[in-house]
């Protein structure tokens, strides 16, 4: 049985476990999504958006949807190893995309703020979710419809007008299985009302001997004057497949910050899209991908400037070693009405080895005349002159290299506003570099 038929077939088993839940609105959406999944296909390299990423290794395998798989249990101590420490935060833990109540800790929240998981909230308070769920993310390919068909659980954060969630929400997505190859399908929803603020740390980790597919969709509503920050740190196993689509919609004077820090997996694909629906909007995208071995990271970003006086700023940096392959595609559309737009985009990549590859495509489509738009892309290797300079001060070669790489990455890291998170990411970079060095020897 091919994987497509397998997912269609598994749906029946999934339905039979649902009992009362199958009457909820969300299940109607799942059924519709399954229908779309039946008629669509997984993207191939003939599709321009997937030109450099061959997903056939994912399609060849049949991953067991998490709802049908054997659940793995973790103790608090075990989970603790994967968390960002010293961050005063609300904590939600998802194992294979399914919420684990006993591992999570949601502190006191301002009145009216809802932070929880999709499965419970869609039973307890379906009205609040129905208003937003699936309204932004249109199904574009089989990964999207597969996510929607199995969208059982995920983060829900609804912040009403004028409320500020002071503590960031840390969400640990832990993928683990003893014997099965599991498909986890987290479906996240972040809604920020007028004048509200919220930050989310999305922490993706894996502890499995088996390969798995983490297929995510995140919808973000940023209403007028709201500020939303999403910090995605993806540090999964070399065998892991990870796909995420982020779809954001911004109202006037709002700010959306998205950080995408990837330490890789077998195939990682991110689609980060923001649509402007008002004036004076700011969108900031920061990305860092640091990969080695045979890892493959593909980042597609998109900012749709539909209204005047908005700005977007994007900085993506890549450090590729061994046989790693990086892909960057940054698209900016400035529509006819979007006069006085400022859009900046940069993609810089360092290749550390002979066989690392990067395919980058910064893309501008501009239909308004009074705009300032620029993009830049560079690809290079570590500067020998700088390295020589550091070594001439008595620093050993390996350390000199690591210093240069960390300096390169720092442009992205230093903009992180949560101090302990910044430190720990720095540490992860150092660890990662160290691993590379050990491997090289």
């Amino acid at each position: 049985m091919n994987s497509k038929d397998f997912y269609i077939d598994s749906f029946k088993k999934f339905e039979s476990k649902l009992n009362g839940e199958s009457k909820l609105f969300i299940h109607q959406l799942r059924k519709e999504a399954l229908k779309q999944f039946e008629t669509s296909n997984f993207p191939t390299q003939k599709n321009e958006e997937w030109k450099y990423t061959d997903v056939s290794p994912i399609v060849r395998q049949s991953f067991i949807p998490a709802v049908n798989a054997v659940q793995v249990s973790f103790s608090k101590e075990e989970v603790g190893k994967y968390l960002f420490k010293d961050v005063d935060c609300h904590l939600l833990v998802f194992i294979n995309g399914l919420f684990s109540e006993e591992l999570s800790l949601i502190n006191e929240l301002p009145k009216g703020v809802v932070v929880g998981n999709l499965r419970n909230l869609s039973k307890e308070n379906p009205g609040s979710i129905e208003k937003y769920f699936g309204k932004l993310s249109k199904i574009e390919n089989s990964f999207n419809s597969l996510n929607a068909a199995y969208s059982v659980d995920g983060l829900v954060a609804i912040v009403p007008d004028g409320k500020i969630v002071e503590k960031p929400i840390q969400v640990l997505y832990l993928n683990s299985s003893a014997n099965e190859e599991v498909l986890s399908s987290p479906r996240n929803l972040i809604v920020a009302g007028k004048n509200s603020q919220v930050s989310v740390i999305a922490n993706y980790r894996g502890v499995s001997d088996k390969s798995y597919l983490s297929n995510n969709v995140t919808e973000v509503f940023v209403d007028e004057y709201a500020v939303v920050s999403v910090y995605k740190i993806q540090n999964e196993l070399d065998e892991a497949y990870h796909i995420e689509k982020v779809q954001a919609k911004q109202g006037k004077n709002s700010v959306f910050n998205h950080y995408n820090i990837a330490f890789g997996g077998a195939i990682v694909r991110n689609d980060i899209n923001a649509v402007h629906n008002g004036e004076n909007i700011e969108t900031h995208y920061y990305g860092l991908y640091m990969i080695n071995g045979k890892q493959h990271v593909d980042n597609h970003t998109f900012v749709d400037h539909a209204k005047p006086n908005c700005m977007s700023n994007e900085l993506y940096k890549g450090i590729l070693d061994e046989n790693a392959r990086g892909v960057f595609n940054g698209k900016i559309i400035v529509r006819q009405d979007a006069q006085k737009t400022n859009a900046y985009q940069q993609n810089k990549t360092i290749l550390l080895s002979k066989s690392a590859t990067i395919d980058t495509k910064p893309q501008l489509e501009i239909f308004a005349d009074d705009v300032k738009c620029s993009h830049g892309a560079t690809v290079g290797h570590l500067d020998e002159v700088s390295e020589f300079y550091i070594r001439s001060r008595g620093v050993p070669q390996e350390l000199a290299k690591s210093m240069l790489i960390r300096a390169f990455a720092n442009d992205v890291i230093e903009t992180i506003k949560i101090e302990p998170l910044k430190e720990q990411i720095n540490h992860m970079i150092f660890e990662h570099l160290h691993k590379i060095e050990v491997n090289n020897e």
Binding site: I358, Q363, I366, D369, A377
Partner: protein, 492 residues
């Protein structure tokens, strides 16, 4: 203070009107010459391909090559990935052959049809004048058959071959067999296959070892007869240590039915040789509503086969309803260099999807791309480029700069740069900006007593200067004129 500002704004808008008038001016080079021409019936099949080959008195191997290309083309699908829009082309509704009736080879200009000579005069390139004054040898292509070739004697002394492709097929079959299709094989793309099957004529240049071509070679293209697709084929070969600068320029008369132009240009450069290829393209862009105009779908590619070889493409594209071309360089030889300088101007309903491909294969290969796009009216201008650094291209270097300027709020400027790097010693830089002519810039020049129209002209010319500097003298002058005509301003 406010009053002054308002006054200036009014003045500006007045100037804009003037500019608009200029921008909306009719195509200046449009006229139809009445020359009896021999045109094949519409449609395309193997018999038509055989007929074209037969008309040109081609040997059997050439006919076979065309037929192979035709059969391949039949199996292909029209490409759809471009960022331009046009109605479906009916390839059976095009006549694939049109030649002025006079056939025998001419020895001097006096034998040329006077009507034809007048056409060239209107275009500003009287053959006899050019022959004497500018020192430029002209291979004039009127529709599809070469009618006059000058300076051949001078070139012959040096060993340079400059003739039409059909003559070369007869006189130098060994060179044609070796090089035709070696850079752009007929399997390359849909329009290259079509061209290979039905190409009517074009220029052939061969510069032997160690020869520096004593003059700039030039071809003036001109599409005449209505509804005739023009399928040019150009092949230029520079052997070791040779150098040639080749100019190509075009204008065409006003008409309503869209015309398809699918040319193929191939350049071959061996050790230490250099080819400089310059184009000024000003074909009929269609009227203000986008009616008529030429579809310019061209495959241009050069192969730097030898060490230290160099190819330099310079283009100024102001015409055509649709321009769709990517002059490319395959940098195979060590230390070879590829350059691409382009100005693409679109106005009214014009569409351009142009750029380049730099394929770095050899060690220490270098490439430079400078692309300037200017969009006005309701036009769309896209830069699409590929920089590919292969696994073995140690120390390869690329610098890309593509700037766009927008002149109205209804036009579009797009960039689609593809960068693929497989070697870590390579250094690739890409930069792109989009902006409009600043009101402050115009104001600054107004202050110095320069009218808005001239100011815009100056700014645009400054914007394109890097590219114009790379054009040969004669062309640089023409290019500036063209630019001025195509869009003196239209800042809105």
């Amino acid at each position: 203070m406010n009053e002054i500002k308002e006054n200036q704004a009014e003045e500006l808008s007045d100037d804009m009107k003037v500019i608009d008038e200029v921008t909306s001016s009719e195509y200046k080079w449009g006229f139809v010459t009445e020359i009896e021409s021999e045109t094949a019936a519409k449609g395309l099949n193997e018999d038509v391909v055989r007929m074209i080959s037969g008309k040109k008195g081609e040997p059997q191997w050439m006919t076979e090559w065309r037929l192979k290309a035709f059969r391949y083309w039949q199996k292909m699908e029209e490409p759809k990935w471009h960022n331009v829009h046009y109605p479906q082309i009916d390839f059976q509704d095009i006549s694939y052959y049109s030649a002025p009736k006079q056939k025998p080879q001419l020895n001097s200009l006096e034998e040329v049809d006077p009507e034809l000579l007048r056409t060239f005069e209107k275009l500003g390139i009287p053959l006899e004048e050019q022959k004497i004054l500018s020192g430029v040898a002209v291979d004039a292509v009127f529709d599809s058959v070469s009618v006059a070739t000058t300076f051949r004697e001078t070139l012959k002394e040096k060993g340079v071959i400059f003739c039409s492709v059909s003559e070369a097929v007869k006189d130098h079959p060994e060179l044609i067999k070796k090089y035709l299709g070696s850079v752009v094989p007929y399997t390359d793309n849909y329009y290259a296959a079509l061209n290979s099957a039905v190409f009517s004529d074009g220029s052939f240049v061969f510069i032997p070892k160690g020869v520096r071509c004593p003059m700039e070679l030039s071809t003036y293209f001109r599409i005449n007869s209505q509804e005739t697709g023009q399928f040019e084929r150009t092949l230029i070969i520079a052997e070791d240590n040779a150098y040639v600068s080749y100019l190509e320029g075009c204008t065409a008369p006003i008409r309503d039915t869209n015309q398809l132009h699918a040319a193929v240009v191939e350049l071959v450069v061996l050790d230490n040789a250099e080819i400089k290829y310059s184009t000024v393209q000003n074909w009929y862009p269609g009227d203000k509503e986008g009616k008529g105009g030429i579809y310019n779908f061209v495959t241009k590619r050069g192969a730097c086969k030898g060490k230290n070889s160099k190819i330099s493409w310079t283009q100024v594209e102001t015409g055509s309803a649709i321009t769709w071309k990517y002059p490319s360089c395959i940098l195979q030889g060590e230390n070879s260099v590829g350059e691409f300088y382009s100005v693409a101007v679109t106005n009214n309903m014009q569409q351009a999807d142009t750029g380049t491909k730099m394929i770095h294969i050899g060690k220490n290969t270098r490439s430079t791309i400078v692309s300037k796009g200017i969009s006005a009216g309701k036009s769309n201008n896209s830069y699409r480029g590929l920089v590919k650094i292969g696994k073995n291209a140690e120390g390869a270097r690329n610098y890309t700069q593509c700037d766009s300027m927008l002149m109205s709020d209804k036009c579009g400027a797009h960039t689609f740069p593809y960068i693929e790097v497989e070697n870590n010693t390579a250094k690739v830089e890409h930069e792109a900006t989009t902006s409009k002519v600043g009101e402050d810039q115009i104001f600054y020049l107004n202050q110095r007593g320069i009218s808005s129209e001239d100011a815009v002209n100056m700014i645009v010319n400054g914007f394109c200067k890097e590219v114009f500097n790379n054009l040969p003298m004669e062309f640089a002058v023409e290019a500036q004129k063209l630019l001025a005509i195509s869009l003196e301003g239209s800042v809105g």
